[in-house]
Subunit: 354 residues, 2 copies
DNA sequence: GTCTTCAACTTAACCGGTTAAGTTAAGAGG
DNA sequence: CCTCTTAACTTAACCGGTTAAGTTGAAGAC
């Protein structure tokens, strides 16, 4: 079907080696005459020759392809823009540094045995020679990172981190992000601040919760001010939050810090349905501050991490790793900032300040 | 570095062929004894052997990988959820049918020569043996489809269509979608309906504009009722729309049909800044009806096409194409429906009904 | 006239698998 | 005792490239 190098060689009346040298621009170095070069090039275009990347990759032991491995099966089911921005950063940088992207998502396994089998196969897929390295969007406790380390396969973790110096990563300081959100709400006079928490499976979600708890503690607020409500994804039922708001004045939250933008936006629309005004009745802060936050009503105050830049940085780190470079900084921690929009107002509720 | 089949063979004391047969579960068929099989398997796990997919692909002439080719470089820069839903459908189906996904985005070339060169290289990347087929998210006029056809490379177009029977595609009936939107607005009494149009480069955008114009014409409205404003992306300046609203009562639009959700949402937030209420002062209809439409204020009435299902269908069609099947229906047209939410109201303006 | 040198190639091994076509030794059949 | 089968493997060609190590013929040196 597709023309091979041998066919090109036959048509040009030369050996395959000559074709290969011409193809790779080694003509001059290897002393191939200009006449032969153009004869070969003509044969290539006449036969519509396209070199086979598998054969080439097999010889070179590299494919200029990186694998992107997503932790969660439903990473594309959110709508806050996180994944879009992530993919945008990855694909832009791929073009820039000349790599292709192999996308791996995985489905969750039910029982322990299946998990092990899945893990083994997942590793196989990464080490099967198609990719030169991997970008991991996974929890730091995931065994994959250590398995890759052991196999000597270059990788960089994104939105996750590790104390192990051999792990390269680009992550946001989630504790700090949570602190920014909570301190801002405290500065507006809020004391009863609830937290919509993500799943503990996600390191980022866990840290944001810890940051929330620590910020409350640092402010000297007693334990009963800690209000954590699970809201893992946009599908999660937010009924408990609405119920909470019907508590007495001194006990109900006047502000909410959500671990993610989409959950925050989901909450806002639910509140609207229930006649609760944002920010007059309840202040809301999200996390990620994607473009969408500018377009909600009210525009959502949110902790910003530059997902695009972080993805790009991770990709460049990976490219360095693959090429054998050992930069000084292989563990990048990005400082978040708070993007103040219009979803928070000073606390007006009659509160018992401690 | 990574263990090869020869090393496994040596350790197990057998030939590489035997290892290969065991690896592929052909042990029984090929009459390999159970003892030898387990010896080989032990050697594999002791050496942490992972078969090389390039070598395997080279032999088999297939890689169980499909390429996804995006038309626009900034496909991931939108935030309406279209791309998320698309990628979700693709990755879910990839897992289901056992394929991996190679992601190709492309950057636009400036001059004509560069375009040709880019086109040639793009074709090379697709025909280089790494992928068994391609999903194209591109305009129907794009030369890539015909080039692939000529090369005998399986592909399916998504969100684009063609009269050529040899082109397989899954597309939405955009004309019909536009008709649904406009007729709904007409039924609410609107006559001055503006259209926010996408770039003519996009076939879908072009058809939605045509559908809008046709629906107006079919309703017997004269040409001066046609108000088309360019709004290619979320970055596009929507100032002209706001200006238009300051026209006299009989001339200003009372409704807007936007070719895409994100542009519609962008418009709504701009209107809010200018004190224009939706839907009281202006009705707005979008296109795609992604989950996000439920969470805007007001929830956005929008023409629905099931992006997730369309992507999944396209993937399955491609899998069939690759495996040599020739299904009856290789050209799938999905009928859109209108998701009525809260962004439209009956027309109250003093209008001169024709 | 012979020896070098060099330009311009070719040969062949290799990358890591697959698989059709052998090979070998043991046991069955006559 | 010899031939035939068959189970249990091995050999080697092939997939389509890369590249170190030749080969060849002609020009130039002595």
């Amino acid at each position: 079907m597709a023309a091979t190098m041998r066919e090109v060689a036959r048509r040009a009346g030369v050996s395959v080696a000559t074709v290969s040298y011409v193809l790779n621009g080694q003509g001059a170095v290897r002393g191939i005459s200009e006449a032969t070069c153009s004869r070969v090039r003509r044969a290539m275009s006449e036969l519509q020759y396209h070199p086979n990347a598998l054969a080439r990759g097999l010889s070179h032991r590299q494919t200029h392809t990186v694998a992107v491995v997503m932790q969660y099966p439903a990473i594309f089911s959110g709508w806050s823009g996180f994944t879009n921005e992530l993919m945008h950063g990855i694909t832009d940088t791929a073009l820039e540094v000349g790599y292709d992207v192999l996308l791996h998502t995985r489905n969750v396994a039910s029982d322990v045995e299946a998990v092990q089998e899945k893990h083994r196969r997942e590793l196989s897929v990464l080490l099967d020679g198609r990719a030169d390295g991997a970008l991991l969007l996974r929890d730091e406790k995931d065994p994959l990172a250590n398995a890759l380390l052991e196999a000597g396969f270059p990788f960089v973790m994104m939105f996750s981190h590790s104390a192990d110096k051999r792990h390269w990563f680009v992550d946001c300081d989630n504790m700090e992000g949570a602190r920014l959100a909570v301190e801002y709400l405290l500065s507006l006079g809020h004391r009863r601040i609830a937290h919509l928490a993500g799943s503990d499976v996600s390191g980022a979600a866990r840290e944001r919760k810890q940051g929330y708890l620590k910020a409350l503690a640092d402010a000297g607020l007693p334990a009963e001010y800690q209000m954590v409500i699970d809201a893992f994804s946009v599908e999660h039922d937010l009924g408990p939050v609405v119920e909470m708001l019907s508590k007495s004045d001194g006990e109900r939250p006047t502000a909410v810090f959500s671990w993610s933008d989409d959950v925050a936006i989901n909450l806002i629309s639910l509140l609207r349905q229930n006649g609760v005004r944002v920010p007059e009745d309840l202040s809301v802060v999200g996390f990620d501050s994607t473009t969408l936050c500018d377009h909600t009503d009210p525009p959502l105050t949110s902790v910003h991490q530059s997902v695009y830049n972080m993805a790009a940085t991770a990709f460049r780190l990976l490219a360095a790793n693959i090429s054998g470079a050992r930069p000084d900084e292989t563990a990048v921690r990005v400082q978040p900032r708070l993007d103040i929009r219009k979803s928070c107002a000073p606390c007006t509720g009659s509160l018992s300040l401690p």
